[in-house]
Symmetry: C2
Subunit: 389 residues, 2 copies
Amino acid sequence: MSVTAAAGFAAGGRACGIKPDGRADLAVVVTDDRVPVPAAGTFTTNRVAAAPVQVSRAALADGQLAAVVLSSGNANAATGPQGLADARRMAELAAGHLGIADAGDVAVCSTGLIGVPMPMAALEAGIPACCAELNGPERAAEAILTTDTVAKQVCVGVPGGAGVVGGMAKGAAMLAPAMATMLAVLTTDVAAAPGVLAAALRTAVDETFNQLCVDACTSTNDTVLLLASGRTGRHVEGGSGPFLDALRGACADLATQMARDAEGATVLARIEVVGAAGHDDARRAARAVAASQLVQCSLNGADPYWGRVLSELGASGAELDPDRVSIAYGGVVVCRHGAPTPHDADALAAVMAAREVTITCDLGLGDGRATVLTTDLSHAYIDENRRTS
Amino acid sequence: MSVTAAAGFAAGGRACGIKPDGRADLAVVVTDDRVPVPAAGTFTTNRVAAAPVQVSRAALADGQLAAVVLSSGNANAATGPQGLADARRMAELAAGHLGIADAGDVAVCSTGLIGVPMPMAALEAGIPACCAELNGPERAAEAILTTDTVAKQVCVGVPGGAGVVGGMAKGAAMLAPAMATMLAVLTTDVAAAPGVLAAALRTAVDETFNQLCVDACTSTNDTVLLLASGRTGRHVEGGSGPFLDALRGACADLATQMARDAEGATVLARIEVVGAAGHDDARRAARAVAASQLVQCSLNGADPYWGRVLSELGASGAELDPDRVSIAYGGVVVCRHGAPTPHDADALAAVMAAREVTITCDLGLGDGRATVLTTDLSHAYIDENRRTS
């Protein structure tokens, strides 16, 4: 149930002083023999990519990594040339103190405030200490959190016994498609070529983390990394199959943990669009509903105000004929042919009283379907985000 | 300073019982001789267009209107065939009791809850009474409000003395481009062909109401209507000129009134993007910043957290080189070359303490520029929108 569940990895975390309140803010994940293994990554699509994203992209150019150093509290984004030098120095420090020959085999992930120089004195002291103790994956998972309230870890067995996929993630706000604002490190002990890992990771991320939409903000630092130690000796070839299933399952589990722990959220909503003209239309429609501040306000009030859902479907750009649309909350159909329909008010009240709700929108046009996770919009979300200090 | 400021129009409003709390909810605007005049309209781009939008589009097909009947409290949207029949009945009632020969010359506007059948008994009694008394434009402007806290009226003289443009509007949430969730009726006493009015209205709306972005929600009922009585006898031909200037000025004034009165807003922000690669890029970038929940939370906290602004610019899809971007709050430059820059902290604090702030984002690429109005995201916004009852 952690980033070291797969054979061949070690990890640890500690407080080094980036966060003013003394919480853990520095983590390391490393292959246990300190040699590079096949690896892959997906990164933010934001044109303002943070310095650590640039460093990690370069580290992955040869399809292998030996370690990842992660920090929280400062995103090292919008920090100019000094920020890039700082991110590179973090990789060098980790390589030096872990005994990795080439700092180019170390990825760097940072999360936190944008536009603030990295406090490098803290990292110059902290990284050696973190590398020396490697005090376990739980400490690593804690050290990457920002406004998250719980650590997020996962372990999924590869069907057929080929190995496991383990991992850890953080992500509490700025959760939006392409990608959710998040960091995740996944490890596995199957053996696979970098290209196979990259294809599988792309598919899994697209179907899981990219289906989260809490506030439609796409951050500067989003990174998901996957390292494969090959320790089980079981080889994974390309395409679909048990490994992809396990990887997808691990990512989906972490995505749900992230949505449940989204800033200030009291309700988790699954927006299901079916019957869309196509796959892209289904996604567009589901995301529009999920990202709607007004739909999120209704979720906060446990109010099944489907008129807003229909309005967002209509504004989404997806092909739509209002007369064919039906909308259900937890299976209770409240709108048919784009108009109100009689329904069991008690059953609907029971659905809305739960902490999780599924809103199903049937567009009545074709086979396109998509599901997006979102949450309600609460006072607490505003309170967490109105001041940085 | 009203929808009857231009010669040739009468108006009135009253409570007919759509709103459960007894506030005014029904209004009429009519040419004072009850004959149709040249007119134009712009409508929501939402594919779920409410029944009154469909009726008004049809009424404008011949480029003329004699009256507009408006109601608030119920949007008559997502109400199926009965909703369409109800909207048509509203036009018939107004035509019959105003003495207009053809109900096809009456436009209908409704705003309020989606997915609830219109309470037609209230309208069957209310429309005749409203048409009989025509008690003035102030009552009309009050009767179209929903969660607005103040009536919104305007009057702008056409430079050169050709006449005036007057109007009224409502709009308090779901304020988003294309179009803001709003109703507006504008009148003028210049003489102009329907095509000239339509072109001028399109331009004016595009540069004003479509530059509002409070919560990125595009409603089912958005409508802006313009009627020209021709009473001054001064003819307006096409293109730019004094009439367009006056119309644009009237729309801009109403748009600012709407933003200032947006649900729960405590801060009005003007997001200015300059130096974009093109006009469309500038708009895309400005809207992304304006619509950002996180930027809006920072505005609520009076926190000049420019990192979020830069992040939204980067995620907007606009062409961007982070190293060329600078960001200023009220003229105080806080970010240069995509990184923090020394600035006068006292001057910045003074800027953030005001109720209105301009955030200028210079992309450093070209001549594209755009301005979008937005507000902060507050507890009150959530409170107004979490329950419909």
